[in-house]
């Protein structure tokens, strides 16, 4: 009995029981559904074992959307709890678990897979390649990420969620003050997902450096590819820090080491430092690809080339370097003294300069353009002022003496939501709307799309602007309740209303997908937006091999040139194409990783050791496996091409 007791949630409530029941029902429904429709074989052949970057991309997208929902429910619960003083909807322990999981889910399991979805789906198409450099590694990245995400989400119903904040500062997160297995989940689930991300980083750097179409010099790459390249370089430098950090944290919690403990020479500040050495670059990993998407969308719908291409690239390079030099701005109040704070204050403000350059470049891209207000464009236009507001409040936070007053308050919470929502989330939805027809062959409804964008923005302003004010009025972040006398009630109620409006907006997005699946026209050709870069030069739906003939490129907007200036993209004739084989190994290995992670969380050593041996066995097998891929014959390609061209019009 003792053995099973450990899996119980230490602090259950009706919400958690409700979640258990609904998860169980959902799982049964999925299994029954797949069996009923006889889809197991299809699922296995076409998805679980796939190495196709487009399918892997779509799987990232599905996870991201599911996690957006999960994190969104957390968010609504928090805002409801705080909408009234002395509310008893959540108690402090639950509130703590909810804001902790909200932060991790949104950043690591929503935003990260969302950008990785764009990397996967778009980069090979944008650079005119047939797949990524290491397709099987790519599948492994996805499945590791997926298993990490699932393991993390399990904490809610098995053993208890982490509760020391997404920053998980020690000693609070150490064994002395966090006695449940929640923080073990944090350490291990993020570790597994993080390994996947690191591999993604390596994979895409290689892909972008080695697999570009002929003629595509570095300075002729589309802006999204540039942004993804730089983001992945940051990944490769930043994520090893996270790996080490989590390994140290795991050892402190499971094996009695003293890296971050308060006695025996441990140093709690070391956690905070290392966390932000990873954490600050992480926020730029999220925002740079978003910048890339905005660049694509704005120039498409301004019907103009991107203004200041070179300074766009240069500013991203500068941002990537500086992003490693500012981490201490997350704890100006740790007592480093005025000199250290001054240095980090200046480096932080300096980041605002290249960011500002980008904003001006977008504005100048609109200048002399011919602006069409489509849904993706609407998001991009709303992004500019709202993100600017978030950026300038960042500069305010960067003034370290003043930050003593903002730190740990709702003002800070307002800042980062103000950059992440209009910055990252809008870009994700805009990009999704923009590339939806490329992926699925029909457009999302424009009218519903625009309503979503406006509702989201109204909700956003109502939900987050008041936080700047309550922050300056002394409302600390992460408080599960406050008393009437503080005077925070009205503005927190406004925030809740805003959050509810945002929830409606997301529901509308889901409805839009449903509506468009049913009613949207399928007859849209392969270039519905009159776009500019290579990803639009192939057919819709994109054939497995992406391009029958590898395109030749002479400018940053190769496809536009081919439409307007008679540039010839596809020279030469069709030849047989070499493609990688599917493989079950990434999926199987990641399942074993899941078992390994789970048994580590609960310290079930025999199982952990067996799983570890399993992982090593998979690696060994892979090392000796001979798999030279396969060829698609010329006839087959011609047949596919003829069919697709027929569909295209």
């Amino acid at each position: 009995m003792d053995f099973f007791n450990r899996f119980a949630v230490p602090h259950p409530s009706f919400l958690i029981y409700g979640a258990m029941v609904s998860i169980a029902i959902a799982m049964i429904a999925v299994v029954v559904g797949i069996t009923y429709f006889k889809k197991w074989g299809y699922l296995w052949r076409e998805w679980l074992t796939t190495v196709d970057h487009k399918r892997i991309g779509i799987m990232y997208l599905i996870v991201a959307l599911l996690m957006l929902f999960r994190g969104g429910v957390d968010a609504i619960m928090m805002r409801y709890q705080l909408s009234m003083p002395d509310n008893t909807f959540l108690d402090s322990q639950h509130y703590n678990e909810v804001f902790t999981t909200h932060g991790i889910v949104m950043i690591l399991f929503m935003a990260m897979p969302f950008i990785t979805f764009f990397f996967n789906y778009l980069i090979p198409l944008q650079i005119g390649a047939r797949d990524v450099a290491f397709p099987r590694l790519n599948a492994l990245s996805f499945w590791l990420f997926f298993m990490g995400a699932m393991l993390f989400n399990m904490s809610f119903v098995v053993g208890g969620s982490p509760d020391s904040g997404w920053t998980s500062y020690f000693p609070l997160a150490g064994n002395e003050f966090s006695t449940s297995v929640g923080t073990n989940y944090y350490m291990i689930a993020i570790q597994i997902a993080g390994m996947g991300t690191l591999m993604t980083g390596i994979n895409f750097i290689t892909t972008i450096l080695k697999m570009r179409a002929p003629g595509m010099k570095l300075m002729k790459m589309p802006m999204f590819t540039w942004s993804a390249f730089i983001a992945n370089v940051i990944v490769v430098f930043a994520f090893p820090v996270l790996t080490v950090l989590l390994a140290m944290g795991t050892m402190d919690r499971l094996f009695g080491t003293n890296f971050f403990t308060t006695d025996n020479g441990g140093m709690d500040m070391l956690w905070a430092n290392l966390f932000w050495v990873w954490g600050h670059p992480e926020v730029y990993i999220l925002i740079l690809p978003a910048f890339g998407l905005y660049s694509e969308i704005i120039s498409t719908f301004a019907r103009r080339n991107l203004y200041g291409y070179k300074s766009m690239v240069a500013s991203m390079v500068v941002i990537s370097i500086f992003s490693f030099l500012v981490w201490a701005h997350h704890f100006f109040t740790m007592g480093q003294g005025p000199l250290t704070n001054s240095i980090f204050s200046i480096t932080t403000m300096a980041i605002a300069v290249p960011t500002g350059v980008k904003i001006f470049n977008w504005l100048f891209t609109l200048w002399k353009g011919k602006i069409v207000f489509t849904t993706p464009m609407l998001y991009s236009i709303l992004f500019i002022p709202l993100f600017t507001l978030g950026g300038v409040t960042g500069v305010m936070l960067a003034m370290s003496a003043a930050d003593y007053q903002y730190h740990n308050t709702m003002f800070l919470v307002a800042h980062f939501h103000n950059v992440i929502i209009p910055g990252v989330v809008y870009a994700m939805i805009a990009g999704l709307t923009f590339y939806w027809p490329k992926m699925f062959g029909f457009m999302l409804n424009e009218k519903l799309g625009k309503w979503t964008a406006w509702l989201l923005s109204v909700g956003f302003v109502l939900a987050f602007i008041p936080m700047y004010i309550t922050g300056l009025d002394g409302q600390a972040r992460r408080m599960y309740t406050y008393s009437e006398s503080t005077g925070f009630s009205t503005l927190n109620m406004v925030s809740f209303i805003g959050a509810a409006i945002m929830a409606v907006a997301f529901a509308l997005l889901v409805y839009n997908i449903y509506y468009s699946i049913r009613y949207a026209s399928r007859d849209i050709g392969s270039d519905p937006w009159d776009a500019r870069s290579l990803e639009w030069a192939t057919h819709t739906p994109v054939p497995e091999y992406n391009f029958a003939i590898i395109p030749e490129v002479a400018s940053t907007e190769a496809f536009w040139d081919s439409k307007k200036k008679g540039h010839e993209l596809f020279k030469g004739k069709i030849e047989k194409i070499h493609m990688p084989n599917n493989s079950p190994l990434p999926f199987i290995m990641s399942c074993i990783f899941f078992v390994f992670g789970f048994s580590m969380v609960f310290s079930i050593w025999p199982v952990a050791i067996i799983a570890l041996i399993g992982i090593l066995a998979c690696l060994t097998y892979r090392s000796f496996e001979k798999d030279h891929g396969r060829y698609i014959s010329v006839e087959e390609i011609e047949e596919t091409e003829a069919k697709l061209r027929g569909a295209k019009k």
Partner: protein
């Protein structure tokens, strides 16, 4: 489009209206001491400057959107290909750089101000108060006065105060918004926060850094009074309060909230502050005697390797 624009407009107006309606000055912008004043001034300065930036961006955006929208142009207008212009881009880099340099100077100056004895009080000997946190309380030790309080803080107005901060547990952050910004209290070192109150009155103080289940209520009350009243209070405590014993202090450290309480003597005598002193700048105070205390089972007290 029109209705949605209006909706957005309405939202912004409503938000601003609620702000203005809540006429009471915001705590941080209602400073009662020189440090908080420095910070509030920086905040207001940056708000104005940053508003200007937002307005400029917004103005350019609205201008280009109206002027260059497709419905405002002829069918056959083909937007030109423009690579960029070194001059325009230099301006776009130059102006932000100037703003950043200006703010950097302000920021550095303020850093040295808030990390030193508060302006106007330099010639005084500051009163030293040890503020230590334990889940989820604050213990204030007055070594010179030889008294200790829990969850409330009496201070003399118009007197520099040097807080020595540390924690018996998770990292906490000592914050009295109207007197000045916060600073962390940690278990393996002592940090220093310089504050002073220009006025008598009552202020809100709290732990601002999340520290577990009891975090929300981890607050304390601050009362600033004249030096005479303060001295009187100290005398009174010496007459009426019980001495703080080792056992009693262990009891106080137990997780929980407790109300206010007062003692003579301080816990520094038997449970001294961590040795590491961090961020103490000008006024070097004599540390309380570090008696080699026999290890009692609490184990919370860390003595760093001697450095």
């Amino acid at each position: 489009m029109r209705i949605k624009m209006k909706l957005m407009y309405l939202t912004i107006v409503c938000t601003i209206a609620t702000v203005l309606a809540g006429c009471e000055p915001l705590l941080v912008l209602d400073p009662k001491g020189p440090q908080a004043k420095t910070q509030a001034d920086d905040i207001m300065l940056s708000i104005w400057l940053m508003s200007a930036i937002v307005i400029v961006v917004l103005a350019i955006l609205i201008f280009v959107l109206i002027k260059y929208r497709a419905s405002n142009q002829s069918e056959d207008y083909e937007p030109p290909h423009i690579e960029g212009s070194p001059l325009v881009e230099a301006i776009c880099i130059g102006i932000p750089i100037i703003i950043v340099i200006f703010l950097s100077i302000v920021s550095v100056e303020s850093n040295y101000k808030v990390e030193a004895t508060p302006a106007g009080y330099e010639d005084q000997e500051p009163i030293v108060i040890y503020a230590s946190s334990s889940n989820w309380k604050w213990h204030f030790s007055y070594p010179e006065q030889d008294i200790e309080t829990v969850n409330y803080l009496y201070i003399p107005a118009n007197r520099a105060i040097e807080f020595k901060l540390y924690s018996y547990g998770p990292i906490t952050s000592f914050w009295i918004p109207q007197l000045g910004g916060q600073k962390y209290a940690m278990s393996d070192m002592v940090t220093t926060l310089h504050l002073a109150a220009d006025a008598e009155g009552e202020f809100m103080g709290r732990n601002a850094n999340f520290s577990g289940a009891g975090f929300a209520e981890n607050t304390f009350e601050v009362t600033s009074m004249s030096q005479a009243d303060f001295d009187e209070w100290v005398d009174e405590v010496h007459e009426t309060a019980d001495p703080l014993t080792d056992e009693k202090f262990e009891e106080l450290l137990e997780p929980g909230h407790l109300g206010r309480s007062t003692y003579t003597g301080t816990h520094l005598e038997f449970s001294p502050a961590p040795e590491h002193d961090h961020g103490s700048t000008d006024s070097e105070v004599e540390e309380p005697k570090q008696e080699d205390h026999t290890d009692h089972e609490s184990g919370k007290q860390t003595n760093h390797d001697n450095h």
